[in-house]
Symmetry: none
Subunit: 528 residues, 2 copies
């Protein structure tokens, strides 16, 4: 990574803390292997600094920093995180600071206090000792690493409470050689107007580069970050997908494209922006979080269009309904297969599925008619494209029949008030004239049916063994019929390579689930 | 609702579009009943205007507006939504505009174009005709309703492309009597600096009140809204939980507390702010969306604290790690190691149910323990208070047992590919030593079970005949187990006088439904 490039005016330095602050999220817990993969993914995307975590003797992170040293990073600089020394101790004796130097990183970030209330009520030390802690610690670490950044915790509250002292904390870090003074909105409660005023004032009082680190407790993390950039901050800290404790950190997946496309501030190397969605997905996968469909820029629904007029307008001029081109961030336009859709949508989808519809006006009309009928019955294909693909293939005579159902039976029996019912299913199918009759139990009727069906089919189609059910959703369709309402079931499957979703609708939840199960199995079989 | 109060300088007018723009979300589809409940919930919270939807002949919304007329709203004004008249037509002939007048609302919002590119490329009409469409339509509707608002679609793109024309669109609406000119960031791609500049300029060019309507495509919806308020906009449009198509709309659950607590702009009546979390939850439940744990202000994790130092610091001074007090928005601090809160809620609820808990420390503890256990298993009582009331009554020994279950059996049998399965249930119960054994069929297994249970019970308790099942909701709980996932069932009942909701949770959907059914019946029986 070229330092000159980073210092060129206008270039924003990206600092990712997914591996520390993201890992603080209540629901995220990266393994060492996850952390190594995230690091490589962030390097590939073109992030400048990747904060690897605390270097404080925690075995997972010690091992992570050790193994990370062996990776050849093309762009990113791995950064260690630590705290200023303890009160009343020498920096050179502080085990955390020594561990940072021992980790072999070229950059480190130290967090220290900058709010008089915290120093008095939480740390219970003198303001002068806090300044010495900052100065000693940064100076000590700076001797062993190329770059040291200072995270000024609660900087905004500190500045609003005692501006003079807050700035003295920054100056202590500056005089110790800090390469960047990072203003932290630790509680996440600031609003852009305040951030902007504070940064503007601070800007004139220190010489070192400024950074910004925000949290999303007022849904302002991204806006506060960009407000700070407008006032001259050059280092931006955040996490992929906004992961972080409480309401999360500033979301780099939103900040990066807005900086580049809307504020004309370069931050990623050219051609890297299109990797943004991929990076968001890989990190979500490693964090074991389902990706948010509605996530700005990178979510599945971010460029989803409903309704005919809307769609033809987007075709005429994407600017009419899209704020940026989806491809620019590696996303794609999603034309929702909805009851308002027409021929254009069907043709678009056929292209996507590699189905040739040219000269097949009749089939297109048949697909449209079927679609209308199915949607009237409560089917929705927006979230169940595998079922839609099957529907199209069927209309085109391209859907092979792999088996025939001869019948099933599901029994739920409860014999005691306190015990859940026992569920058992039997399934009878026919494949090429051979009849297979199976029985299975399960956690509930649908699960029992699922087991019995697979038991019957896997004999003939062993490729189904790799199919896993990832997600099962049930939606009761609006109608005033209580337990006789129609239900719509969505099933998501995964076979190690691809994910697909299918749909079923019925008054009977067993039947709706059955339909979705059949489509799920059928979709996989049609692929061979 | 007092109009003077709304017009007092400084007061921000809250305009909710959950029922229209929220309902546009790819995954939300409110029923008429859902919409009526959302309307009442928003009224209770103190929202000024509730947009009910398009009034365009869609049967669900026609019925909704009709029934809504019968509701006594304490604060909110129900608002109808429509489009400016078609090109080349008279406003008085436009069926949409006539439908608005026919719906009996006191306020209406009309959306029209304000971007030259849209007018030329999408509408393909002259700029002059577009101005006439705006003016005619607003003037026509204004004759029949007290207040008319103009949603200027794509206003910001329009202003950036052709400021003079965009402002002429606003003026056309103004001269037709518009009570508020709402600047819409339809594509959701604006950033606060641009919004602020445009609003500041427009502010000097029109006299009517200004409104703001934003989308979240750049994760800026809340920030853009507040930036507009800082420049003098007085009407704020948004949705509960930010529901809306693509990346969602401006989230009122974040905007409201930030306005009130951080910008000192009153918007909710005093004492209402503490209902915010409840409102967010009820709307999520009705929208069948799992609430986001990380949602600012109202999410489960919004005030979650990890680690000892953090916690003792928060105890010493909540400001140390909390940007607002959780109770202020009806949320609570979540101490992740040992959760000690909750007692206050239980006492509060007991008062609500007229249960005397004074001097019953043991019972309170028992309720808290049970609650904790149940929530761990996936039960949620926010939307199912009847089940919670039963739980409390049971802990206090005030729950009478009306019958005992000896067993049930549910059979679903499918004999042909094209036909839905046949469902049959048998139920055996005992009431005062008398055994009743019944059988019934139904549309699906739960419906059959419901029929068999009522058949058995109505003999002994004829008051159950008036109990109607209004709504049945199923949510698959997050866990990647496919069809073996846990499900939570919510049942809403009505006996002609009151509505109540109950909950059941199990791996088996039949068992979860059974629990909710039992609670529903039990709740009614306990009333006598």
């Amino acid at each position: 990574m070229k330092t000159e490039k980073r210092k060129r005016p206008g270039k924003i330095v990206l600092y990712d803390t997914t591996l520390r602050d993201g890992d603080q999220s209540e629901y995220i817990n990266f393994s060492k292997e996850d952390k190594l993969r995230v690091l490589q993914e962030l390097d590939r995307l073109g992030i400048d600094y990747v904060e690897g975590g605390w270097v404080d003797g925690n075995p997972r992170d010690t091992a992570f920093f050790e193994e990370a040293r062996g990776l050849r990073l093309r762009h990113a600089r791995l950064t260690a995180f630590g705290m200023t020394r303890r009160a009343g101790q020498r920096a050179s004796r502080d085990s955390g600071l020594r561990a940072i130097l021992g980790s072999g990183v070229a950059a480190a970030t130290l967090v220290g206090k900058a709010w008089d209330l915290q120093i008095q009520e939480v740390l219970r030390i003198s303001q002068a000792e806090n300044l010495r802690m900052i100065e000693d610690s940064l100076a000590f670490v700076k001797r062993g690493v190329k770059e040291v950044f200072f995270d000024a915790e609660h900087f905004f509250e500190g500045y609003l409470s005692n501006p003079e002292y807050a700035v003295r904390c920054l100056r202590a870090a500056e005089s110790a050689g800090a390469d960047c003074l990072v203003l932290c909105d630790t509680n996440g409660g600031m609003i852009p107007a305040v951030v902007q005023r504070v940064v503007r004032e601070v800007r004139g009082l220190v010489r070192a580069a400024l950074g910004i680190h925000t949290h999303n407790d007022a849904e302002m993390a991204v806006a506060n970050t960009l407000a700070a950039v407008e006032e001259g901050v050059t280092q931006v800290q955040g996490t992929i997908n906004g992961y972080g404790e409480r309401c999360g950190n500033a979301n780099l997946c939103s900040i990066i494209p807005t900086l580049q496309f809307k504020m004309n501030r370069a931050c990623l190397p050219p051609r890297k922006m299109a990797l943004l969605r991929r990076c968001s997905r890989v990190v979500a996968e490693l964090a074991n979080q389902s990706p948010s469909r509605q996530q700005p820029y990178v979510g599945d629904s971010a460029f989803a269009h409903k309704g005919g007029i809307h769609i033809s307008a987007v075709r005429r001029n994407p600017r009419a309904y899209e704020h940026v081109l989806p491809e620019a961030v590696g996303n794609r336009r999603k034309i929702l297969v909805s009851d308002l859709s027409g021929k254009a949508t069907v043709l678009e989808k056929a292209r996507e599925y590699n189905l040739d519809l040219s000269g097949k006006e009749g089939s297109v009309q048949e697909i449209l008619d079927t679609l209308k009928l199915m949607e009237k019955q409560g089917y929705r294909y927006e979230g169940a494209e595998a079922s839609f693909e099957l529907l199209m293939k069927k209309a085109l005579g391209k859907k092979r029949k792999f088996f025939r159902l001869l019948g099933f039976r599901v029994l739920d029996e409860k014999k005691q008030e306190k015990e859940p019912p026992y569920s058992e299913a039997t399934v009878m199918i026919e494949v090429d004239g051979r009849v297979e009759h199976t029985a299975a139990e399960g956690k509930g009727p649908v699960n029992a049916l699922d087991h019995a069906l697979r038991k019957a089919l896997e004999k003939f189609y062993p490729q189904l063994r790799s199919v896993e059910l990832l997600d099962y959703k049930v939606r009761v369709l609006p109608a005033k019929e209580g337990t006789a309402s129609q239900v719509r079931v969505l099933l998501e499957c995964w076979d190690g390579k691809r994910k697909w979703t299918t749909v079923g609708v019925s008054h009977n939840i067993i039947e709706a689930s059955w339909q979705a199960l059949l489509d799920a199995v059928d979709y996989r079989l049609q692929l061979d």
